[in-house]
Every structure is written in C-alpha cells, then in structure tokens.
Symmetry: C2
Subunit: 660 residues, 2 copies
C-alpha cells in the first residue's frame, strides 16, 4: 500500500488536488477539452524538473566525463526500420466494431480476469480490500503500474477452482503473450467490451511511433523518436574520435521522446511525450569491468531477479552490488556500477530508500534489442513503477546500423602484446591463374578466400597428391592444380584487434521519477490532515526560499529588495509573497509548493536588520541577520549544513505574531 | 563583411571545419546520408547550449520572477487552426514538373534576379566582389540571411537601366509579395529552374508544420508546435491564478519547436527542429509601462526603424532606449524594456556589441498575429540574422482562443476608485412583454440589449411621443409602446474593469544565437592562421578548464585527481587531456574547443603542489598552488575577477617546457 513520507496511507486524490492547484502539472490544452496522455508542467513542476536535470547532469555527465549530445527528435523512417522499431515497437489493440472504442489487448484481458477473480472472492465471502491485495500478490508487481479501465458492475460469481488457477496463471505472465495468444485468450475466455458487453475484433499490432513527413515532398517519411538512443548510436564513430579513440566511454542525452499510447490513463506515468535522460556506455564485449566499481561495490540494493519472478514470487533479495556481480546475478561490473549509481542519484533527489527495488526483466519480457535488463522500480500508489531501465543492448544497434549503411562502426585497438599464430593460406600464381580462368578468375579466387582453416588443411593434403576441387558459386565444381596455387602454413602476427562495442544503457524516465518523488515527498500535518506538505530536499525544491513581509507596509520594501539581491547572488531561487493573506496561510501555501525555507520580514527587521528563518518540515524558526540567514540557506541547499546545524547556531525564535 | 573577433575577414569554411571537427555540431543521420535542416550537437555544442540556457533562465526567469512552463510539442489541429497557423504558417513553393525539384518561390526570384544584376555589373565592367556588396546594399539587409541556391553560370549580359531599377525595387521588397504576386513575377521575368532552365509550376502555399496523428484512431490530427507560445496562452488563466491574480506578469518556456522548411540550406541558421526560449509578458493594453524601465532607459541601442527601411535605406540610428520610447519610435516601455534586456543578455554571453542591431518589421512583413515587432539581428557571414524577435502580439491569441473555446480569458481588476457614470437603460415590463411577443419575446429583448447609448437616447424621446420601432433580426420592424418598457437615464457604479491582456513576446532562437556567438568568438592566432581560437566568455564556455599532465607518468595522477575533485566542488567543468600529444598541441586543440583555462601539472607540481594556469586568449601563464589556481578560475567564471587581476596577483610563469 502506498504511504506518505511519514508512513500514513497516501490519499492520491488529495495529493493530486494539491499538485494541480499549485500547478505542478496540468492537462495540456484543457480549455480545448484536453488530450489524454499530454500534460504541461507549471512553474513548480518545471523548476523541479530543471533541478532534477541539473543534478542528473552533475551526477552522471560531469562526474563521469560523459559526452553529452543533443540529437534531433525527427528521425527518418530508414533509421528506425533498421533499429527494429518500425516492425516491433507496438502494442496490441482490439477495436469494438460497434462503438469504435479501442482497448489495449493485454490491459483488457488483465482487467477482465482480475474483475472475475474479484467477483469470485466476493462470492466466496472474502471482503473486497483483502481480495485486491491477494490478487496483487498473485499477479506479481510489474503490472500493477498499469491503471485499469474500470470494469463496471463486477459480477459476484463463484468460479471453479480450476478456473481460478487458470486465470491466476494467465495474469502472472500477462506481459509474455503476443498478439495471437492474446486473441486466443480473448476468444477462449469470452472477453468482451467490459462496459457494453459487445464483441471485439481480434487484436492487431499498433505501432507506437508518431509518424510524419519531412520536407515538402512526401518522399521522406519519418517518426518522432521513441528514445534518444538511436541518435547517440549514429554518432558513435564521431564520439569515439572526440574521445581520442579511448574506450570505454559513455555518451548521454537529455531530451523528449514520444510514444503514441493506445489509451493512456495514468496521469504523469503514461504519457505520449516525455523527457528522458539516457546514457549509452560503450564497452569492450570481452571486458565489462568498470574502473570505478570499487567505489560502489559496498552499496546494498534490493533485487528482484528473474528466477524469483519466474516462480511467481516477489520477495526482494538485499545484497551489495559487489556480491550481486560476484554471484553472477548481475551480469557484469559495468551493469552493477550503473545500478549503484542510479540508486545514489535517486537517493540524492529524495526518493524514499524503502521504495526502490531493482527488478530484472524476464526473458520474453525484454525489449527486442536487449540481452539483459534491470529496472529501477519505485513504489507509488499505482504500484511498482519502472522509472529507470538499465539494459545491456549488446552490439545489436551498432551492428545493424553498420550493416545497413555499410559503415565501419568497429573499434580498432592496438594489442599490448602482438598476437602470434599459424594459419593455412592459399596463394595463387596470378600469371597462370588469370589466363586459365579468364573472367571467372575473380569468382574462383573469392571461393578460395572463403575457405576455413579445416578446409584449407584438407585441400593442402589433396594438392600434394595432385589436385582438389572446390565449389564456385555460379560456376560449379572447379579443379585446382599445384601450378595454379600453393597452400602453406604461415606465421601470422596481429597488432590490432577489432570489435563492435557492447552498450550498457541506463535510461531515465524523468517524468515518472518526478511523479514518484512527489508521492514520496508528500505528507500532511498530523494536527491538520488538510495541510499538505511536499518535503523536497532543498537541492531539488522548485524554489528555495519564500520571502514574507509581515504586511504590505512599504517600510519592508528595502529589506525585501536586499534579501532578493543577496539570495540571487548566492544562487538561491526565491519568491516574494506580499499578498494580504495571513503569514500562516502564506506558509501553508508554500508548504504545498515544497519551498523548504521561509524568511519573514517584520518590524524588528527594520530596526536591526534581522529576519526569521522558518523550516518547512518542523515549522521551527530561528532569527539572524540577513547575511546569516542567506548564508544558512545556501549552506543547506549546498549540503554543507543541515537544519539542525542551523538551529544549533542561530537564535531560536518563537514570536507570537508569526503563529500559524 | 563578416569579421573575426579580432577584425580580420572571417573565412567561414575554416571556422566550419573546426566546428565540425570538434563536434560542436554535425549533420544528423550522416551515416544514412543525412537529412537537410537537421543537425545534432556534439559535446561542446551541447555544453555551450546548456550554458546559454542556464544564463537565459537566470537573466530572465529568475531575475524577473517569470512563470516558467513546459508544454507539449504535440498540439491538436484545432488549437493551431484557431491560432491561424493552419491557414497562414506557410511559404510558397514552385515545383519543376520535369525534375521534381522544389524551390522556395521568394528565394528563387531573389537568387535569379540577383544573378542577373551581377551579370549586368560584370558586363558593365565592375569587378565581382564590388558587385556583390552593391547588390547587398540595394536589397537591404533582412534577406541576406537566406542563403541562395547557387545559380550556375551567371550570364554576363547587360540589362537596360530600367530593368536594373525594376529588379532592384523587387529585391528591396521581396518579403512583401504573396503567392500570386510571386507567380506573376516568375512569369513576367521568365524565371525558370536556375540549373536546367526548365519551366516551373506556379507557386503554391506549403504549410510549414509537421503533421501527425495522435492516438490509435486517426480522428485526432495534430502538429508539432511551430512555437512554444500557444501552450503558454492556453495556460493563461491558470498562470494568472498562480500569480495571485496580479498583473502584469510573464510566462516563459524553453523547448524545441519545428518548421518543415521547404529546402533548408544554411547550416544551423535554418533548421527544421530548433530550440526556442520564449517569454509571453501579459500586460494591460491601457498601461504598457514597465516598473523596471528606469533600470534600462540609459542603455544605447542601434535601431533600424521601419520608415528608414521603407525608404530603401539601412542606416542605423543609435539612441537610448529611453529616447526611443519617448520619441514613439519604440511603441511602449515594456517593448523597450525587453529590447534592452535582450541586448544585455546578448552582451553577457559574448555577442560582439558592434554586431547587434534592432530592426523593426515593416507593416506587411509582420507575422499574422503581430501589431509591432522588433528583431534583434546579429551580423554573421550570412548577413544580418534575426536571432531574437520581440513582438507585440496584442490581444490576438487570447481573444481567438477564448472565442473558439467559449472560455473567459479576461483579467478582472478591482478599480481603485469605483467608476460612476450615467447611462440610458431600457427596462421591460415582463408581465406585458411576454404575452405580447410570446415566442419572439427573447429576440426582441436581445435587440433592445444590443442598442447603444445614442440609439437609446433617441428612442427614449420617441417613446415619450408615443412609440418607436426597432429592427429585430428574423422578425423585421417591431413597434414598442410605453406600457411595454421604459427608457431612463440611470446612475451606474462599476467596481471592476475587465480586459483581455496584450502580450509582448521576446522570442529567442537559441541555435541561431549559438551560431552567431561561435562566429563572433572566432579568430586565428596572428602568427599562425591555421590555429583557430574560440574565445567564449568563461561563463558560457563549454568546458572551463583543461587539465594537462606533462606526460603520462603516473606520478601526476594524485594531483590530477585532486584538481578534478576541487574543480568539481567549485562547480568548474573540466576535462583531462592525458594524451601523448605535445602540450602545445593539446592546448591548440582546446583553443579550438574554446576552453578558457589550461592547468598544467609538471614535476615541480609533485614537489610543491603548484601548477601553472594558462589563459587561452593571451597564452600567458601564472603559477600558484592548486587551491589558488582553482580559486582563480572560479572567480573569473563567476565574474568576480578578470584574467588581468589574476595575472597581477599570481606569479607569472614562463617555463621552457611548456612552449607551444
């Protein structure tokens, strides 16, 4: 069950009302009726997002010397055809031919079977709350994140025990069915439009990319990118050169991607346009060790590996990243390194450490390009939500693009020790070879070059005995004799090694992280359940300080100006609330905005240049000079001091006039 | 003529080679052959862009308390139909029916006539360079920014004097022709495909928005936004409420917009996907004064007002913003305030102050929504380029959206003094009115409500005399008599005033500014024209410091680690170049990357913890402890000290081993 920051049950409706009222986010085009799956961020949401991005850039790009790129969202068809997205980036949908309604097939099966199981439990006399929890336990957690279209009028019908077991098994592996299998389930279990009961057409694949056309003629179809990754892959050679040919290295990109969801209904968690921050770490496939692994191997994470899930269980395994890699549960150091770095980032921005788990993808759940994948999932009122994916995409993307464009995307490395070995080689005598085969000479030569070591060794023997025959495409069998060529064992030395790098990809859904952060930061004052607080850490809080004059008396203006100027110089974003509301009301408003500090200017301030500093979370206040207070805020935002430090060294203030 | 930072002629090809080699930018999808008008930013371009955005946010959003929003790029058809973009956001194009080539009509007329004028000048014996300059002077400057498709084989043909004058006049107002007029010009002046000489189809309008379809059914057509503005307008009411109903206020947005250019050929200046930073300042149409105008009124700008241009001239008028507003040349304080703030921003990021002008749009050049518009134009090798637009969009957008959606987007202000006045009012006697007109009663009443004061006064007189007649739509003339209604003069009091705000919109094309900045920052060492330098101000430079160990000797590693850590703590982005190239070569590479500082670690460093600090622009060096040097860099980046200050207080260093 989702909880607030203080461990109380989270009422999502209350939080949502606050988030919309305070304009953290709002439906896009609302005066036009809105478009599902599209949201705008208002000022606090926008500042929160900018602060997350700023921290992300510092934590990953700057701290790890990544090569950040900014590639276009418009992408030609050919690129996404090669990457596999044109063929495979789809969900299955069923249309109700009568009403025209469209359902996402897997979600539909899920919601109908869940409703039937619920009806069964009720029929068996179990109470609803209990029922839901049980159903969730059975299904595993990964599908809880999908909000269901409400099935109206759950029928209280008892099912046979076999039926219950069958439904439960289907739900446990709902992510593994393809379109045909979903169609069979829909037929077999008589799944219809859950509202009207009308029959549905069989599932068809719907590609989730937004199509468009680039340029004035229609000969260049394109898409809005479904991920930032492809742009990074296509620039691989340039980035490698920029990096002075050193491997491994990572590129990174922050930008919008798009996914034309069939019927998005889950607020900020399932949207059609979203901000991603993606890293592509290019690494030698034969050496996925990470030079800084020792810095993180002690970090403990909660893992949900695939074998546990495949047994239908969800127990988390807590161990250090070092142990996880050593035991082989996490495939390699680089993957483990990033899982730890992801956890550190999430901790830094204020995600509740008890609400993070790392879930491994099951084999048939994985994206088409991935060979291994761990998701950082965050617990919310929608269940466990995938917020960061960390996939090993192997050499898939670079390989397909290199092949399609006939471009060399290999890394060539000078070997520390040259590699010496013996190999059979055929050497033709051009003077005789050419005249003998004439226009076919090239074809015969190519057939010889295509021979492997075993064949060469065998033919060397045969040649000693007089001749051998090889099969030449389009020519048939050709006999070769010693005057035409020799086959001998040669000493070989290789000074370089060539390989296509593998890619480890940590991919962050910023909007999902932002939403989870809002849930994890939310709580209400115990003395008043209507007073919501968003306790963002100061470093990510949209605004760091609220400046509150006691009243609109102009005598306070010079002090407000001084505070604003000094805060700006110190890089502290601030807002002034000079409205006529009571101080208490103004602070309550800013608690909802997540502003960690309030600075009150009162008549005492005019006399001695001191102001009060209020801590959002404790509502305690201290008093100090403007310089002391601005310095204190800066220290807390920079992580140099905590509120407790401040409270220890500045004078605690308990003025009557500021009572809330 | 475009010049380098040091005033030498700018060789664009040299600069472009450096920018691509250093991966400031690169054509998108290059291994797939590229797509014209799409570019990716590599690491230095990306960092430069991020720094520009960061400064922009500080300079505008934070310093002026703007409400930043992040709205979706996907936009439903209906919104852009209302805004006028579906009907009017187009360029005209001509198709060559034989080759299939597509030409932008205005660019085509321009390039062909220019080529003919050039041929004429050559025939008259004027030399080529001179010719080009003259042509540019004649045309005015706004069209120089459009790069022409090269007209092959300029024919040296003398034209009649009348023809020359006619061509020059056409070119002077090339931005003012509509599609039909362009078609007439093409016919009259026999303009054909400049390469093949083949005839062209008449111009047709091509809408510049990228279309797509939102959701799985095709019933919601949409576009990628052509500007961020519409999202801000649609959120106006919510933002006003967020701002506690206070006016004026500004919203701001930073994000990508899209323009499906017909045939983009001008590098970063004309692209299909671009980053914008837009401000929408909502203001009372009756009071466009700006509270902070006094802070900027002394700032001198170079203006090119519309009347000067309409005389075919391009002389700039230099005056203070205060004078410009007072004289009425710039319409109002808010517009003037933003022009000054734009200039300050451009100065801060390093734009050459001698290469900025503010050009007013001519009447028929303006966007369909604007009532006045000034562009900040930056001089580049492509001519004067519009980089920031500053338009007064009046109440256009809010009005059309309010009307279309039947939403109230008015501001209601409580009047300081209630407004008292007398007014004629008709009051009907419902008891008699209803029975008399029955189902038509409502129509008659509405006709009465639609009467203005003059009509009411006249009818009051007639009513005294017995009756009057009014015209009721769909009913015709209706006679009204005193028992049905009275018309009297009433005392009225109004406590509020309601208005649709006007919008002043400063709109920044970040990519264009970035490109101009690269040109303005570029120069080559006088001693070696091949050694390019990009002298970005430290605050925007992609990387602030390069750390250069003398060699790959591991003895330097602890010092490098210490430098990196201390720089990171001080927020100084840095890179290590431990390659085996000479120190001179490594510095030369970083001069091209625009890195302002180099820090060299040598054997002396190992002994006494001192390092050398090199200034990019002067190549001079000083020596100090690691803390001193990191502190010095931080001070210069923060604008607290200059290089001269540093050189004055740290020991000047002239070590042999670092010679370049």
């Amino acid at each position: 069950m989702a909880t607030t920051k203080t461990g109380e049950p989270l009422d999502r409706a209350t939080l949502d009302t606050i988030l919309r009222r305070r304009l953290f986010y709002t439906p896009s085009f609302e005066i036009y009726g809105g478009v599902s799956g599209l949201y705008d961020y208002g000022p606090p949401g926008c500042a929160l997002q900018a602060n997350l991005i700023d921290l992300w850039r510092k934590h990953f790009v700057l701290e790890e010397d990544m090569l950040e790129v900014d590639c276009t969202m418009l992408t030609p068809h050919e690129v996404l055809k090669t990457s596999g997205h044109v063929d495979k980036f789809s969900d299955f949908m069923c249309k109700d031919p009568k009403t025209g309604e469209i359902f996402r097939a897997d979600h539909l099966v899920e919601e109908v079977l869940e409703a039937r199981l619920k009806g069964d439990k009720e029929a068996r006399g179990l109470e609803a709350g209990k029922v839901e929890e049980t159903a969730e336990e059975i299904k595993g957690a990964e599908d809880k994140k999908k909000r269901k279209k409400k099935v109206k009028d759950i029928k209280v019908v008892k099912l046979s025990d076999e039926k219950v077991q069958e439904y439960e098994e289907i739900l446990a592996k709902i992510d593994n069915y393809d379109g045909d299998q979903l169609g069979e389930l829909i037929l077999k279990h008589e799944i219809h439009n859950p509202v009207t009961g009308g029959p549905l057409n069989p599932p068809i694949a719907f590609n989730l990319m937004f199509g468009t056309s680039i340029g004035p003629s229609t000969n260049m179809p394109g898409f809005l990118r479904p991920e930032t990754a492809q742009g990074q892959f296509l620039n691989f050679s340039k980035l490698l050169e920029f990096n002075n040919l050193r491997m491994p290295f990572a590129s990174a990109s922050i930008g919008k991607s798009f996914r034309n969801e069939i019927s998005p209904r889950q607020g900020l968690l399932r949207v059609r346009e979203f901000l991603m921050a993606e890293i592509e770490h290019f690494v030698d496939p034969e050496n996925k060790a990470h030079p800084n692994f020792k810095d993180v191997e002690h970090i403990k994470l909660k893992f949900l590996p695939k074998d546990v899930q495949e047994q239908g269980k969800t127990e988390l395994i807590e161990k250090t990243v070092g142990e996880a890699v050593q035991s082989g549960m996490v495939d390699n150091q680089t993957l483990g390194y990033f899982l730890a770095r992801i956890a550190l980032f999430l901790e830094k921005i204020g995600i509740d450490q008890n609400k993070i788990r790392f879930r491994q993808h099951m084999a048939n759940e994985m994206a088409h390009y991935a060979t291994d994948c761990w998701d950082a999932e965050l617990q919310t009122s929608y269940g466990w939500i995938e917020c960061v994916g960390c996939a090993d995409r192997s050499a898939y993307d670079l390989t397909v693009h290199a092949k399609k464009t006939n471009t060399d995307l290999n890394v060539v490395e000078t070997l520390a020790e040259p590699k010496r070995y013996e190999a059979w080689e055929a050497e033709i005598d051009k003077k005789k070879f050419g005249p003998k085969f004439k226009k076919d000479a090239k074809a015969v030569e190519e057939a010889l070059l295509a021979l492997d070591q075993t064949q060469l060794e065998k033919f060397a023997e045969e040649l000693k005995a007089g001749s051998f025959k090889i099969n030449v495409p389009s020519l048939g069998e050709v006999e070769l004799t010693p005057e035409l060529l020799t086959i001998t064992k040669q000493q070989k030395i290789e000074h370089t090694r060539s390989y296509v790098p593998n890619v480890i990809e940590p991919s962050f859904g910023i909007g999902r992280i932002l939403y989870a952060l809002m849930e994890h930061s939310f709580w209400t004052r115990p003395e008043d359940a209507l007073r919501g607080v968003l306790s963002f850490p100061p470093v990510v809080a949209p605004t760091k300080a609220l400046i509150v004059p006691l009243s609109s008396n102009p005598v306070f203006n010079p002090l407000i100006a001084e505070l604003m100027k000094k805060m700006r110089q110190a890089g502290i974003s601030n807002r002034v609330d000079a409205s006529s509301a009571t101080i208490g009301k103004r602070y309550a408003r800013n608690d909802e905005l997540g502003t960690p500090f309030g600075v009150t200017v009162d008549f005492q301030s005019v006399k001695d240049n001191t102001v009060t500093l209020r801590d959002r979370d404790t509502m305690k206040q201290v008093r100090g000079t403007i310089d002391e207070v601005v310095g204190a805020i800066k220290n807390v935002v920079d992580g140099v001091e905590t509120w407790d430090d401040i409270k220890g060294r500045l004078k605690v203030f308990e003025g009557q006039e500021l009572e809330e």
